[in-house]
Symmetry: C2
Subunit: 337 residues, 2 copies
């Protein structure tokens, strides 16, 4: 085991390609499982699921399972079904999220709930969620089932917590971190951890990969929430300012609100309860975020968690898989530039 | 093993009391699990779940697991957690159903989605569903996990199928039976079947109890769909004519439509696509159902499935548990009177 120290390099333009390359053959098998298991005699199910699943997305979570398995030199096939299960859980939560948020766009396409209606989006989400558990049962590991059923419960708790915090401009950074730790990082952590389970490594590897995934997930969501205010709809696959209009109190808003004066706080209050949702209001909001370095500091927080993710890999020997996992963290953060 | 033949007795007024009595002690333990496991640090979760769970309901499905376990002389405790899991799955589907249907009432109270909003109802449903799987994982039987994850996928398929059939007045009786077999009977069947698994009986008992539960579930839903047109809101815990107003093509409508003349069919067509939803239209619909014996014949179908449920118990010795399970079928059917 080497202990080379890796620091996030802000200068290079990192990409997911190294990770995609090392898992390409495995990912083809995962995609085959996904395609096979989203089928149903009820045509609306593959139609709606296909809109979202076949429609793209980076397959970040299943890719992490596969890459972590590579890191551990796992040479079996169990992770194909389990990666598909992870992606189904993720897709189910996306479908339900879009219903909850009333989203217009997802992955650069019209959100499924707008095309097929909220009822179908809710029910197909339920179907994919059940299918995920069927896949895990077929694999037969109670430990994996435990990790992913727990993660699923935590995700739902995080989503409800987010709902409770919605339009509450006084949400604290701690509560915000709890929310993204649950709604996003829990599944990243579980996706990585199950690789150690199928590779039959001990607690140490399970914890290291859980730590990697959790911190990457937090960094990932921090960046997502920051670029909601800076990115164009095209780059992100959804509209700019969605969170603003939905009254979602994310870290940029939390920072700008705490750092702002009385007038600014009044603005944020009005905006978050939904009384300031025009394009001019969004422009004003962005100027306040810039004034208080709220975007940059959110990205600085993301870098901190990213560094923790990278440090979680310290005890693994250098190699393709480790480099790819490190670059995935750098990519997650660099999406902001 | 005796082979006494039991026929449904239309004259007596059957009740669930015998079943409730034999499982009372077990049900207290199940209720304790339910109360304990619907908790969360996020207050909205127990608040919303409690509205529905603590708010009543017959606990029909967990009661069936317990009563079937009694039938098999099972003396362990595993069925307490698993019955709670079954109730959580059921509650999750109710929450999602109410969002899908836009229901006003459930179990005699305002539906959770109207009080807490659709987003919360969707997400707390997801939470309870995940919790159900956590409970099953704690029990540790992959066979039970397989039965209930499969049932969950089938339920979701049935719900999507129902959505597809909504407002389609030409839905066939076969498609209707597929829908209720999936959305209702699958969980009844699974609830009964898992009793045979925990009691470590063989395939024969699993199949017999699955058959009992499935046919009881179909009878139960047939009666539900029939009394939607005859019951008062108070007796049913929801409004009369809900299915009519929602354009749900249930068996009474299927029969009245097939047996009706051109004018009547025109009426049903208009009604199911949502152009005839006044109280007068409902009154006219009910008169057409009566004219064609559509309610009575739906109940006759229910009796047929009820008889099949009872016959599935033929090979079990007479005793309290068997009598209670038989009377539960009679109760399910007699709700119409």
């Amino acid at each position: 085991m080497t202990a080379t120290i890796h620091h996030i390099d802000a200068k290079k333009a990192p990409s997911l390609s190294p990770m995609m390359n090392i898992v390409a053959a495995d990912m083809n098998k995962v995609n085959a499982v996904i395609l096979d298991r989203m089928q149903s005699q009820i045509p609306l199910i593959p139609e709606l699921a296909g809109h979202l699943i076949a429609g793209g997305g980076k397959r970040m979570r299943p890719m992490l399972t596969l890459a972590c398995a590579k890191l551990l030199d796992y040479s079996g096939e169990r992770h194909h079904k389990l990666s598909a299960a992870v992606e189904f859980i993720h897709t189910a939560t996306l479908l339900h999220d879009d219903v909850v948020d009333g989203s217009d766009m997802r992955r650069g396409k019209t959100a499924a709930n707008l095309i097929f209606g909220n009822p179908a989006a809710v029910l197909v989400g339920d179907f994919l969620f059940s299918r995920a558990f069927e896949l895990m049962v077929e694999d037969g590991s109670l430990k994996v089932l435990k990790i992913l059923s727990h993660a699923s419960a935590v995700i739902a708790e995080g989503e409800v917590n987010q709902l409770t915090a919605q339009r509450q401009v006084e949400t604290s950074e701690d509560q915000y971190l709890d929310i993204i730790g649950a709604k996003t990082a829990a599944l990243f952590a579980a996706a990585c951890k199950i690789a150690a389970v199928v590779a039959e490594r001990g607690d140490h590897d399970e914890q290291a990969l859980d730590c990697y995934g959790r911190n990457l997930g937090i960094a990932f969501q921090l960046v997502d929430d920051a670029i909601d205010y800076v990115s164009t709809g095209e780059a992100m696959g959804k509209s700019v300012g969605d969170d603003f209009r939905d009254g979602k109190v994310t870290l940029p808003v939390i920072l700008a609100y705490s750092r702002g004066d009385a007038d600014e706080r009044k603005f944020w209050h009005a905006a978050m309860i939904g009384n300031r949702i025009s394009d001019e209001d969004l422009t004003h909001a962005i100027s306040l975020l810039q004034k208080h370095n709220a975007i940059d500091d959110s990205l600085n927080r993301a870098r901190l968690y990213g560094q923790r993710a990278i440090d979680a890999l310290c005890h693994y020997p250098d190699g393709q898989a480790k480099s790819a996992l490190i670059e995935a963290v750098e990519f997650a953060i660099a999406r902001s530039y």
